[in-house]
């Protein structure tokens, strides 16, 4: 099996007016292709911090992250950005859609950045919106969508460039139980279709569906 993601001895410290906060204290994690990993743990245990490091949004104070063999800390910003665009999909707790763009345009955005021709990206956006069950809402702005719908648009956007791995930080955190279940069903389907998933969550339901559960406490992985 191919190792999609390989993190070793990650530490992340934040300097705060004199004192120092350590968010991660030596975390190692490997994710194989097709795996569905759930990261759980109490608030403040460093889950989000780990995810930002895995996705190359932030760099570790020490340790290393490699995606498909490419070490992130060795990459210049331009290449790192390109890698995020091509290989990584992000889903955030608060959706983070662009309010001035429609659902379809939000999904098209990463493809436009890749240089996909307008016709092709339009077709793919329609296909993805249909996949997440929003075929009829493509012309709507985020403000005209519910939380669950926004999160599904965000998932479609994350999938646009066929990433090697999808990272999600509490994707159901802002949603009610029923809507959260719909999103989890979508993840299950993605997993079944072969997408590699790493999901940070408080949601115990995820743990029953994931192929592996990683528990964190106080900046460390506990087993």
């Amino acid at each position: 099996m191919t190792i999609v993601l390989d993190a070793r001895d990650l530490e992340r410290r934040h300097a705060l007016e004199g004192s120092e906060v350590t968010a991660l204290r030596g975390v190692s994690l490997q994710v194989e292709e097709g795996e569905y990993v759930a990261i759980v743990g109490p608030s403040g245990s460093g889950k989000s911090t780990l995810l930002t490091l895995l996705g190359g949004l932030d760099l570790p104070s020490s340790g290393s992250v490699a995606i498909l063999g490419a070490s992130l800390s060795a990459l210049p910003d331009r290449a790192l950005t390109r890698l995020r665009l091509e290989r990584i999909g992000f889903v955030f707790q608060r959706f983070h859609l662009l309010p001035v763009l429609t659902a379809r345009e939000n999904v098209e955005l990463p493809m436009a950045e890749m240089g996909v021709a307008p016709d092709a990206r339009r077709a793919r956006a329609a296909e993805l919106l249909a996949y997440v069950g929003l075929a009829d809402r493509s012309g709507h702005r985020p403000t005209q969508l519910s939380g669950g719908e926004m999160q599904r648009v965000a998932i479609a956007r994350a999938l646009a460039n066929r990433p090697a791995i999808l990272l999600a930080d509490e994707p159901t955190g802002e949603l009610d139980a029923a809507t959260g279940r719909e999103i989890l069903a979508l993840f299950r389907r993605l997993h079944a279709d072969g997408t590699t998933l790493v999901v940070v969550t408080h949601d115990e339901r995820v743990t029953s569906e994931a192929s592996r559960v990683v528990r964190m406490l106080d900046g460390r992985i506990v087993d």
């Binding site: 949004l57 331009r78 608060r94 662009l98 309010p99 955005l109 990463p110 436009a112 950045e113």
Partner: protein
């Protein structure tokens, strides 16, 4: 990246704010345009006026500019002959300016009188009636204000009285003359009552003091000859008179207009500063507000360059749209300001202070656009270097 679509929609997100900024940029652009038009306008329009009839040189009494004082040139016949002897000189047109008393029936008015040689003159164009002929000593041409003031029309008989002589308590020579035509005097001020007569007649009316004298000689030289060389040659040959090319006159005129050039420079710079502040502040605040959005874009893999470009495009949009509105506004205000300034007493009516010339306008427009983009640079830089993880974390719900 769908840069333009995003930039435009983002500006439309806060319509009042964007509209006000646009309006601000428009007023600043209008001011800039006006100042660019003012800075070179009067010089250009003065140069055009001087060049309009194709006489490239002016000869006036030493130490004076044409028609600037009442000093006159003597021995004009001899001077004209001498000038014509230069191979480059095509035509010499003497003009004698003085004041005369005109009367038509019971109406009398003081008239500015130009004595000219009708066959070669560069100071009027015929509006109606006919021009004077070379031998016509009883014909005159009136400007519209003169005709109106005297109530005279083409074909009427008018009497002209030359220089008044208080000692003798008489008005010197008086002549009955015929109005041949109505003309427009190129160098006349608005509403200036003027009359043109044959040079000899003007000299006679002026009495013994003006015998064989003229105020200015307008000289036309061969197009093919070198103007600077001819000017220098004539200067050397006639050291007792002032020989000025149009460029010399414009340069002299320029000195008197220093004030307007400085004013236009200062106000033009202020309008650019206002543009920078407006566009800069607006973009800084927008970028601040959107730091979460920008971080998201960076997270999903949008390149720094594209983020910066989007901010710069917004600055460009503001200055293009504001600038376009400002051009319209500026042309309107330029008319208004021109109407004020051209009411300077004695200024030729043909002169404008605000002249719209393509090159300066293009420079103004380019400066404005560049300013808009430059004003966006700090914000673009800040947007491009947004720390992704921190901005996502602190983004408001």
């Amino acid at each position: 990246m769908m840069t333009w679509r995003w930039a435009i929609r983002d500006l439309l997100r806060h319509p009042t704010r964007s509209a006000l900024s646009l309006l601000g940029v428009a007023v600043a652009a209008a001011l800039l345009l006006d100042m660019v038009m003012l800075s070179g306008g009067i010089e250009r329009s003065f140069g055009e006026l001087l060049r309009s009839r194709g006489y490239q040189l002016r000869i006036s009494p030493l130490g004076t500019l044409p028609f600037d004082t009442e000093a006159t040139l003597g021995d004009v016949t001899a001077l004209t002959v001498a000038l014509r002897r230069d191979p480059a000189v095509r035509e010499v047109a003497p003009v004698l300016g003085s004041t005369m008393q005109g009367a038509h029936g019971a109406i009398a008015a003081s008239l500015v009188t130009y004595g000219v040689t009708p066959t070669s003159q560069g100071i009027y164009t015929l509006e109606s009636g006919r021009d004077l002929t070379a031998t016509d000593t009883v014909g005159i041409l009136l400007s519209v204000p003169a005709a109106t003031r005297l109530g005279a029309a083409v074909g009427d008989t008018v009497s002209l009285r030359g220089r008044l002589d208080p000692q003798m308590a008489n008005a010197g020579a008086e002549r009955r003359v015929l109005v041949r035509g109505i003309v427009r005097f190129l160098y006349d001020a608005r509403e200036q009552p003027s009359v043109a007569v044959a040079l000899a007649a003007a000299q006679r009316l002026g009495g013994p003091d003006l015998t064989d004298r003229a105020s200015v000689l307008m000289v036309r030289i061969d197009e093919a000859s070198d103007l600077t060389a001819v000017t220098a040659r004539l200067r050397a040959a006639h050291a007792d008179v002032a020989v000025n090319s149009i460029d010399d006159l414009v340069a002299q005129f320029r000195l008197r207009l220093t004030y307007f050039r400085q004013l236009s420079l200062i106000l033009g710079s202020i309008s650019l500063v206002v543009t920078v502040l407006l566009v800069g502040t607006l973009l800084a605040i927008t970028v601040n507000e959107r730091s979460g959005e920008i971080a998201t874009l960076r997270a999903i893999g949008v390149a720094r360059m594209n983020i910066a470009r989007q901010v710069l495009v917004q600055g460009l949009l503001l200055s293009v749209l504001g600038g376009a509105a400002g051009m319209v506004l500026g042309l309107g205000t330029a008319r208004w300001l021109d109407a004020i300034l051209t009411s300077f007493p004695g200024l030729p009516a043909a002169i404008s202070f605000f002249v719209a010339e393509p090159a300066p306008l293009a420079i103004a427009a380019a400066t404005l656009l560049l300013t808009g983009v430059l004003a966006g640079l700090p914000s673009a830089w800040r947007a491009a270097s947004t720390p992704i993880a921190a901005a996502l974390r602190s983004d408001a719900p």
